[in-house]
Subunit: 330 residues, 2 copies
């Protein structure tokens, strides 16, 4: 090991020791290194990896305006009241303005309580070098390595990327609200399929029963591959109503997961997908090292679209050249 490499190694060791020791600033710094995909990120994640596997990861997703943040905060409060430690990772794919507002709310909440057992991180989704799902999974891993009992992952369920984020969760909670038009219909089919638990939030509004009936109707049509039929929990996150019941349902599902062996299967499947994402990113990085990056593809695409270059001959040749370069980096 060169002395530079040894220094880097020691620095990572110190950072991981500090975040494991409850140092929230060290944890924040480690997350930033991972989010920004710095060269040390891989070593940092390796150092965190032995310290995961014990926390329960609860994903909370649903349409914008469903009250997910309030619900997640209410869950965190209840868990803290029982002396469970909590990490919140909130993915915010919206505009910088609302992103800032949510982040602001949360910082206030956190600083007000000054609670070392609660860690909150909001992530904007723009500018990620890796995919959103991969980055969120890595950030959740670092938070989990800090020793939190429960990780709450929050994301707006608007696209495939958001659904992919939920793959990291052991338990997926899909939040609906009454009065958003044809509620259930407008939620992506993919999101309905991943629900382990449905929450009808703002359930004091008109139409809560209708949403529940729609969920039930949909479930009666779907061919379930599991013995678990996602229960429906009604909440009013702003007042805390139904949160205890939601927590009880989450724990019941978590117990079922462990007993059925599905927890292990789920986590293995999640890792399989993450590892192939990691492999793809590593390949893209290697291709770029050999001069094959997005700009080169864009340049060739112009020639190809004019009919001046044959892509079916070009792509295998470009890759063959890059690959034949072997381990050497240009």
């Amino acid at each position: 090991m060169t002395s530079e490499a040894a220094d880097k190694h020691n620095e990572i060791e110190r950072l991981v020791a500090a975040l494991r020791n409850g140092d929230a600033r060290a944890l924040g710094r480690a997350i930033s290194l991972v989010e920004n995909d710095t060269p040390v990120a891989r070593h940092l994640l390796s150092a965190c990896f032995p310290h995961i596997g014990k926390a329960l990861r609860v994903g909370v997703t649903g349409a914008p305006g469903a009250g997910k943040s309030t619900l997640v905060d209410a869950l965190a409060k209840q868990l803290r009241a029982k002396d469970h430690t909590v990490g919140i990772v909130a993915v915010d794919p919206t505009s910088p303005f609302s992103g800032g507002a949510i982040l602001g709310d949360r910082i206030r909440m956190q600083s007000h309580h000054a609670d070392p057992g609660l860690f909150i991180r909001s992530m904007a989704t723009r500018g990620f070098l890796g995919g959103m799902a991969r980055t969120t999974a890595d950030v959740a891993l670092v938070v989990e390595a800090s020793g939190k009992d429960t990780i709450l992952l929050e994301t707006v369920g608007v696209g495939q990327d958001e659904v992919d984020v939920m793959r990291v969760a052991d338990v997926t909670v899909v939040v609906l609200v009454p009065g958003m038009g044809d509620d259930v219909q407008s939620i992506k089919a993919g999101l309905m399929e991943i629900a382990d638990i449905f929450v009808i939030n703002k359930s004091d509004r008109d139409g809560a029963d209708r949403v529940e009936r729609e969920i039930r109707a949909m479930q009666s049509l779907a061919s379930s591959h599991s013995e678990w039929v996602a229960p429906v929990v009604k909440t009013i996150a702003t007042t805390g109503e139904g949160i205890a019941s939601l927590l009880e349902t989450i724990n019941r599902f978590s117990a079922w997961l462990s007993e059925s062996g599905d927890l292990q299967r789920r986590r293995a499947l999640a890792w399989q997908k993450r590892m192939s994402d990691m492999a793809r990113e590593e390949l893209i990085r290697r291709l770029a090292m050999h001069g094959l990056d997005a700009a080169v593809f864009a340049q060739h695409a112009a020639t190809v679209s004019r009919g001046d270059e044959d892509p079916y001959e070009l792509i295998p040749r470009l890759l063959q050249n890059a690959w034949a370069g072997g381990g050497q980096e240009k």
Copy 2:
């Protein structure tokens, strides 16, 4: 060139000459070779590539039950009446039963007319080795190489894959129908964004005006990046009503595309995406040749999920080993 390679080369030349000469059976055979991702597929596509670029590619997508097939058939009939040659590529992601039924209808339609200027191919989406979007693009390319003036691409707009299929089209027609609940809301936002032309089919039903108002309302909210605001055309495909108007709108858009320079830009963008898809598939193929396939990832995922192996160390090492193997195949 070995004599075997020369034979293969001659066979491809003969096949392409035959399909260019209007031989529908040769065209069908070439498509099957491409669909099944055979070793000759790449050479076949290379041989077809010089013969594309002149046809107009019209994509037709929308919710199941919107009457897309009938609409596409009606468009084809009108185009044939004007002596334009037509190729239809219909992607059917549904069950084998309905797939068979649609295919059956179409075979009847085709054989009844025994029209050499019309070629129809239904594709089931299961069992594709490449992605659906890539395979459809390749099949459309072979049909286009046969010299058809217009290529009609038909797909159910239910997921990202289906939306990706539309990327190959020069013109994208999104088909809605009245009376399917909250019509516009239930169509994926992604589908609305790619519409160049909206069709309200079955427009004699109640609610056609409401669907149109909803489209207009949505358009007034969206920030358009283009001077083209997607017009709304009302049709009754079963009687042919509105089809002439739709065709006129398609031609008007097509003229606008060419004049604005957007046609070239669109095609270049589509090729850029396709080429990176091709590169990814080629990489996956190469990794598999070096022993890194899905089964290996699944095996490691089990170990990783138990905490017995560190994926952040594992993945770069596996890829380094494969890559260092260079151009040699194991």
